[in-house]
Structures are given as structure tokens and as C-alpha cells.
Symmetry: C3
Subunit: 399 residues, 3 copies
């Protein structure tokens, strides 16, 4: 009654990211003498045996029990594994760990699970948010929704407390039943699990002790024949300060769709995320403005025999909503573009070879990479991130 399943995905991958000193090449020093200033560009690169270039490496246990009367109980425990170096085994069930009760009413699911908002980012990405081809909406939102400081680090094992972008812990989920003529939907609530003090004056003066970690979101879609379209909204509390009366949230709204024409399948997504601070008492000068993150994704897949060509273009733009300041140079909104191209060759349903190449172009200080090492910078911070390129060449074996 238990199914043991998994994916072992390994690739030879390379990453290369270039940052450039954008100051003048020569500049007069204190005595008016022009001196060499600009330090040129610095490329950081790394070659690896990596995992999860096509599908995330994992091992899991799942099962379903028929309780009669249309009712069923089921469980799903799935661990991320790092098969390239063997360091992470089944140390956690960070990918998913749930127990469910399902029936005509739908499904109630308890535990750690994907957030509704993440589904659109991955389902409508030809690269499924894996490897160097991962779309920029996912890359940018992953950092955008990270908690300031996770409660407890467990490196090198996956830490479930660092973000609610992809998944949330301690959640109650509800899923609509499957027989709604193509309509589907889900709702998820995740507990912050913080200790409350009553009366509140006994609350310790510690950041992120009261509301951080809470998640609430939902997704509603329609899939029928070649069409799949879904809208999702979620609100993740990423920080709080009890005495300052502030709550920092990342609110995300996204809409994705795919249409399978047969010889080609098209993908698209729009995403809008807002990192905002709620003030119990609005500061005199209005508080920190919201930071907006807007993203676009266009993708295509083309089946060719036993293979599949994959390509995508994605774009993100940050808006810090700062008023125009004529004394600051280069305060334009950071933005980035990405193109990715890949080919998957299926040796069987379970085993495939794949190759992907990708390139990110950053502007105005955006610092997104395809993976691998971060952009170089020195203590003076004079380097500006520019392009990042990478490749994966690997094998995916599922069992």
C-alpha cells in the first residue's frame, strides 16, 4: 500500500556571471591629476556536476487507502536529494509532507505543500523552474519572498523555514473535487506558529516573533482539451516587529495559461508581486514605499519524435516607488531579461537526456543569475551585475 518513487537527475553544468565597474576609466584625484579608476569587468564561473537540471531529484513515499463511501485517506512524504554529492539523503520531507482526507467534497490536506501562487510559475514554464532555464519570475520571486533570517539553519540539509515562496509548512489546504467540468481550485492557509502573550505588554522585543511565516492563498483554473489557464493570489508574511507595529508582507497575483496546438505548445504568464509594510501607526513621512516586482513569461515547446525542443523568454522589473531625485544618478528601475533554449531526448518514459543553455541580461542593478556563483563585487561596491550565462547537459532517471 506504499509506493516508493523518485527522480535521480544529474548534469554537467557550467555558470558564468560578469559584473562591470561602470565608473569613469580615468578620473582626477585630489590634486587634479587623472588617475586610473575603472577596474574593468570580473567574470565568476564554475563548472559542476549538478543535480535537478531537468526534474528535481527526490525520493518519496506515498499511498492511498479507500475508506468506502467515496472517502479516501492518503499520505505523501517526499524528500529533496542531492545525488551529485550524496550530502542530502532523506534528511527532510521538505518537498512535500502531507496527510489528506478526500471525497465528493474535494480534499483536505494537512502539512507542508506547494503554495497556490507557485503553481503558475512552474506549470506554465517550459523548463518547469528547473536548471539554468528556470524563468526569471521564479528566480526573482524566490528571493523576493525570502524571510529575513530563518529561525534555525540546518545546512547542508534543506531548511523549511527560509521562505514560503515555493512551499509553506504547517498548512491546511482545500482542493476542489476533480469532476467540475474542467474547473479546478485550491485554497491554503499556513500557521505562523508564534507564541502570543496576553496581555501583549509581556511580548519580547524580538523581530519576526509574532506573525512571520503565515501564508494565505488560493488558485482557480480551467483545464479542458488543449487549454489550461489559472489565476492565483497569495499573501505571505515575511517579517514583523511587535513594538514597531509593522508587518511585512509579499502579496502575489499571477495569471498563467498554456495552449497545446499539437505541433507546438505555447505558454505565458503575468506576475505581480508587492513587498509592502503594514504600519499600525502610519509614520509621519508615510513609511517605506512598496516594492513592486512585475514579471512576464512567454514559452514554447515543440515535440520532435522522441524529443522536445523548449524555449522561453522572461522579463522582470523591480519598482522601488522612490520619488524622482535629480541628485541621484542611475536610479532607474532594475530589470532583467532571460532567454533559454533546450532539448530533451526521451530514451523512455522514465529516462531522458537533456541540454539547456540560457542567458540573463541585467540592467540598472538587477543581479539575477542562471545559477552558480553570485556576481562579483568588492567592499566598495563599485561593480554592477551584467550578464549571466549557463548550460546543463544531463540525464534524468525516474523510478
Amino acid at each position: 500500500s506504499v509506493t516508493l518513487f523518485g527522480v535521480v537527475d544529474a548534469s554537467i553544468s557550467g555558470y558564468s556571471s560578469t559584473a562591470r565597474d561602470e565608473r569613469a576609466t580615468v578620473f582626477p584625484n585630489a590634486f587634479g591629476i587623472p588617475v586610473y579608476l575603472n577596474q574593468g569587468s570580473v567574470k565568476t564561473s564554475r563548472r559542476e556536476l549538478a543535480n535537478s537540471g531537468y526534474n528535481s531529484s527526490r525520493i518519496g513515499f506515498r499511498g492511498t487507502e479507500d475508506l468506502g463511501g467515496g472517502l479516501a485517506a492518503s499520505f505523501w512524504l517526499e524528500a529533496p536529494i542531492s545525488n551529485d554529492n550524496g550530502q542530502e539523503g532523506i534528511a527532510t520531507f521538505a518537498r512535500r509532507s502531507t496527510v489528506s482526507l478526500s471525497g465528493g467534497f474535494g480534499e483536505i490536506r494537512l502539512g507542508r505543500d506547494y503554495t497556490p501562487t507557485f503553481w503558475n510559475d512552474t506549470v506554465f514554464d517550459p523548463f518547469g523552474t528547473n536548471g539554468v532555464g528556470t524563468n526569471l519570475i521564479s528566480t526573482a520571486n524566490g528571493q523576493f519572498g525570502a524571510f529575513g533570517t530563518p529561525a534555525a539553519s540546518t545546512a547542508p540539509f534543506t531548511n523549511v523555514g527560509s521562505s514560503n515562496y515555493v512551499r509553506a509548512s504547517n498548512t491546511i489546504g482545500y482542493f476542489l473535487p476533480p469532476n467540475l467540468g474542467g474547473f479546478y481550485g485550491q485554497f491554503q492557509y499556513g500557521f505562523a506558529e508564534k507564541t502570543k502573550y496576553s496581555s501583549g505588554i509581556f511580548t519580547p522585543d524580538v523581530a519576526n516573533s509574532q506573525r512571520q511565516g503565515r501564508y494565505i492563498g488560493g488558485r482557480f483554473g480551467y483545464a479542458n482539451g488543449p487549454l489550461d489557464v489559472a489565476l492565483a493570489y497569495g499573501s505571505s508574511t515575511v517579517g514583523d516587529q511587535y513594538y514597531a507595529g509593522t508587518t511585512t508582507k509579499v502579496n502575489t497575483l499571477n495569471l498563467g495559461a498554456s495552449y497545446d496546438f499539437g505541433p507546438v505548445k505555447l505558454f505565458g504568464e503575468l506576475s505581480k508581486a508587492k513587498n509592502k509594510i503594514d504600519y499600525e501607526v502610519t509614520p509621519f513621512l508615510g513609511g517605506r514605499p512598496d516594492i513592486d516586482l512585475t514579471g512576464y513569461l512567454l514559452g514554447v515547446t515543440v515535440p520532435v519524435g522522441a524529443g522536445l525542443i523548449r524555449a522561453s523568454w522572461s522579463h522582470v522589473k523591480y519598482d522601488t516607488n522612490q520619488p524622482y531625485n535629480p541628485f541621484v544618478v542611475n536610479n532607474a528601475d532594475p530589470k532583467a531579461n532571460k532567454i533559454a533554449l533546450g532539448y530533451v531526448h526521451n530514451l523512455s518514459k522514465r529516462t531522458a537526456l537533456y541540454a539547456t543553455i540560457a542567458r540573463v541580461s541585467n540592467k540598472n542593478g538587477a543581479s539575477l543569475t542562471v545559477g552558480g556563483p553570485a556576481f562579483y563585487n568588492n567592499a566598495a561596491g563599485v561593480f554592477t551585475p551584467k550578464s549571466s550565462t549557463g548550460y546543463d547537459f544531463g540525464i534524468r532517471h525516474a523510478f
Copy 2:
């Protein structure tokens, strides 16, 4: 030849614990002016998606090989898992990890296993020492038998070295064969695994380096028809200091019984634990007196159709054996009562819904909770723990 088994148990649980400032409400200050002093009561509370409210969440591997001639070899590897947040997967086999050889002589079992003394605390508890209903004997003894400082912390993964109350590592166990007309019994010895120095004068002056971790205990019982009764004794070395010549032990004696009348089943347990320091050279003033922990448990279960009503009352009392001191107020022995009430509804043999409520009342400084956050106190330590209440409402699915 391998059986894969497990439990995924998730609940919505809430905990609330109240501490009270027991000083006078107003009190004269240095100038004789009455000032407000008492700070009232503080309630710490938390709501969670929790695991193991009815049965401990786990995943395990076990098997038996018939060696012929009545002989068999078997193994059992069982991991605790935290399915509510996915943080702990099969990182450890802290619940049990043993290899056995069994035959007509009984069973010899090597590895990490339950201590004989814990069995009575859990077998004769209607709530099986899980969730907010866990009896106070178990709650109090769990803290009583903890080591001062475990050797190495592996948070957030279960640390096997923090206590020998529930289980002990590095043990040799012996179990009587099953065919003794209802009589059963076991014996367990656990190695301290400390490095000895010969001659002893080269021993480093470090606490808990010589004897801490050793466990020795046994259990003997009789189960026949509706009756089950068992007596257990164990001695756990929880601390030592080579040069001071001291060894701190927790010695536990308990007696439990249950009788199944059919429409109702009754449970009872008496437990006596003593935290004592053995001195190689008795100090002039006699050394620290023993600390006694006495516990009582009464329980009942009532089957109702596919369901089971569970209820228990438990009581513990600490005795620090201090001589009567007329100048110290409120030096009465700390004690606590608990009542727990629950209902389990079996959807099948493997899947059940359950609900439990419980309340602990502390007196004279005892600080036991039903789970969740600790009692509030400030640096001045003026708050006294009072009541703690909680509930579990969840689902248990076994596979």
C-alpha cells in the same frame, strides 16, 4: 523481506499556559508609600499544525529472517518524522534501531530501543503518551531524567543523546520467550561509551565524561485475558564528575496495570523516581538530598461503535527532602494534577479522526504544561506557573 511502515498524524492544536505574580498587589516602598507591585497573570498561547497528537508520526523498515531450528534474525529501523512542517525526514532512526537474534531462549536485541521503565508509563496511559492528553508521570519524568547538556546537538533533527527516559542508545536487551503462560519480561543494559584513563590521574577534569549515559533496567509482567500488570525498575546515570567523585542517577520504579471489562477498560500506574547523587566521599553536611518524584495515573477507555472515549487523571509530586525552614515561605512540595478527555473515531483500522482536551493545574512552583509554549517569567522570576490547557483535533493515517 522488508516491510515499510509508518504513521502520518497531523492535528490542529492549541496550547495556553498561565503564570501569575503572587506578590502583594500593593506594597510599601522604601518611603513607606504603598506602590503597585503585582503584575497580574500572563498567558502564553500558540496555535499550530502539529504532528503525533494520537500516534507518533514515523516511517520505518523492518524484517525477519527464519534461520531454521527455531532461530530467527530480525531488524527494526524506525525514524521519527515531523510531517506538519517536513523538517525532519528519515534523518535518524531515533525511535528504534535494532538487530535481534531470537529463538527458544528468548530474544537478544542490540541497538537503540525503548527503556523497560518507559513501557509502563505509555502502555497503561489511555492516551499512550501522545498529544495534549499525555499523562503527567511521563511529562514530569521526561524532564527529570534529562542529561545536563547533551554531547552534541543536531537540532532540528532528533538528538538521541539528550535523555535515557524514553529510549536508550547502545544497549543490549534480553526478552523472555513468549510462551511462558502469560508471563513476560525484559532486561536492558546501555553502554555509557566513555573513554577510561589508566592510571586515572590522567582523566580530564570534565563533567559527564566518565559514566553519564549508562542505563540498566528490567521489566516483568503478566498478561492473560483481560488483565495486564507489569513492574519495572531502571537506573539511568544522568551525570558524573570524576574528580568530585560524584555520580548522579535517576532510579525509577513503577507498577502499571490494566483490566478490560469489555464495555470499559481501566488503567492505573504508580511511579516512584529518585534523582540521587552518589558520593565516593560523603560530604561533611551529607551532600545534596535526593529529589523524589512520585506519580499516579488512573485512566479509562470506553468503546462506542467505531469510536473510543478516553479519559485520564494523573498527579505528580516532587519532594526535595529539604529540612523544614521556618524562614522560607512557600517551600511546600511542588505538585500538579492533570485531567484529559478525548474521543477517537476510527474511519478504518488505519485511519482515525481524534479530538482531545486537557488541563494541568500546578501548585507550589511545579511548571508542567500540556505542550506548547513554556510558562512566562521575567528576569526577576516573580511569576508562578499555574494552569495549562490545550486541545488536539486531528487525523492519524497508518501505512
Copy 3:
């Protein structure tokens, strides 16, 4: 399509290691008065419930998929476990974690795997490098090839980054196909996975950040009938310093053979390892001389009914290649001998009882043990390691 397999091996083991103060017993002090100086010998000993005395305790998942046309894909995920205390479950797949594609051309294997050079150390050891009987070539080379400081410690879980002696992470392996008339062979390359900086002047001044971790090696052998013989060579980069221009490598060459005469099987191995520093600019005085580690192993096994007698003698010698210095006493090369004797009694193919005893004799400062606590020394460092003895008495159960 998944095979779940494992070994649970537990033993009662004891270790005892003696170090001796080799200074004069009495010695004149500053006033010419003879004072007592020599502190005699110190024995450190420990008794444990240990794991892996005969075969390494483990649990693993593996499987193969037939892709047609002689092609196959397979995976192997194998975790070390500490069944004596339950502390390490399937936290890592540090024993092996690979995905393979195989066919008429042989096998390409990606991930973490045994190094070619280690195979000869374990295959031609009657004790298979497990328990107190482990041959000295393996004991000495294990420390010889350790990295200075592993990147990240994950105690008490196995850390894959501490050495490339037994296994290497992030490797690409190639194996000859099996149908070559008894000839077999393999090649392995392991990525260092360090971040490169271009231009190089931006490289941070941190040791072991550029090349440490790289492994390259191969093994070629012939097995036919009673004979098995193999030669292996490997080079492991154990340290580097970018600005000093140094790369520290351990280069290993070994040759092993076994011949099965039927009533007795003989084993032998020669091993030569060199810890050398490559200098980009050779220092004026020639740099640190290489350190050589030479080892010999002779072994024998004798089947007796359901049992197997095992015995081995091994010897290692370190040569620091220091020029002769008449002013330094006792600068002879450190060396050590070991004899081990054991018996395995098979209760079935899967279950065995075993007993092993062993003794190491160190000379000239070598400090190898059979396991257990290290040799005693004090801050002044006046103790010299001498003999180390130990025993295992246990049970191995495979599933």
C-alpha cells in the same frame, strides 16, 4: 522496479591504546638534583556497542530500467546508518549516490562513488576494511588523504566533504563492459566545483578555494577463475593556495591480488602514496619535501564448514624525506605493524556472527589505532604512541 536493501551490523567492541613517556625516569634539575620526570604509560580504553564491525551498516535504494537495444539506465542511492545509537538514519547518501547509463560501450556513472584507488585497499583485505581488523594501508591512507578543513561540518551526520580517500563526490565515472575475457577497468574524474575569477587578481585570498576536492584516477584488473589482480592510480587534490601558488596532492599507486586455492585464499597488496606540494614558483630552498606512505598487506581466509577464518598482517611506513640531521634524536621514519585474526560464522547467507581481535604496534611516533579513543598526550606532548588493541564480537544481518 526499486530494490530496498541494507545491512544492520552491531557488535560489542573494545579498544585500548597505550602511550608511553619515553624520557629518562630521573633527570637533574637546574640545581643538578635528580628529579622524577618520566610519567610512565597511559592507557585510554573504551567499550562500546558499535556498528559495522563486519560489514558497513547501510540502507539503500537501487534499480535498473531496460531501455532496449542493449541500453540500460540505473540508479543507486545508499546511506550509511549508525544502528547502534540510531543517530544517523538516511540523512545522506554518502555511501553511494549515482545515476548510470550502460550498454555495449560500458557504463557511464554520475554522482558520488568509491574511488578506484580505494577498491584495492578493501577488496584484497580479508577484513574488507571493516572493524578492528581493517588493514593499516586503509587506516593510514584515510588520514593521509583527508582535507585540511572540510567545507561544512554536518556532525553527527556523515560529511561528504572531508576526504576523497574512500569516495569522491561530483564525479564522472566510466567502466569497461563486463565481457572482456576477465579484464575490467574504470576511470573517475571528480569536479572541485570551485568558483574561478577572471581576471585572477580578483580571487579571494582564501586557502583551499580553487582546486581542493578534485580527484582523478583509474583502475585496471584481471579476474579469472581463482585469480584476481588489479592496479590502480589516483591523484587527489587535498589543498591549494592561489596566491602562494601551491597545490597539495595525494598521489596513490597500489597493486592488489588474491588467489583462491580452495581450502585457503591468499591476499596481498602493495601501496605507495605521496603527499606532495606542487609549487608554481619553486621556493629557494626547494619547498617542503614529499611525504611518502608505503604499505604492505598479506592476508588469508580459510573456510571451515559454515564459517570462515580470517587473518592479516599489514605494515605501513612514513618517510618525510628530511635530510639527516645529527642533532635531532629519534628522527627515524614512523612505522607501524598490525596483526588481525577473526572468525565469521554464517547462520545463513544474510546473517552471520563474527569475532575479531587485532593489535597495532607503532614505532617512531606513528599513532595508528585499531579504532576507539586516540592515544593520550598532554600539552607538553611527551607521550609516544605505542600499541593499540581491540576486539569486535557481533552480528551482521543483511536484507
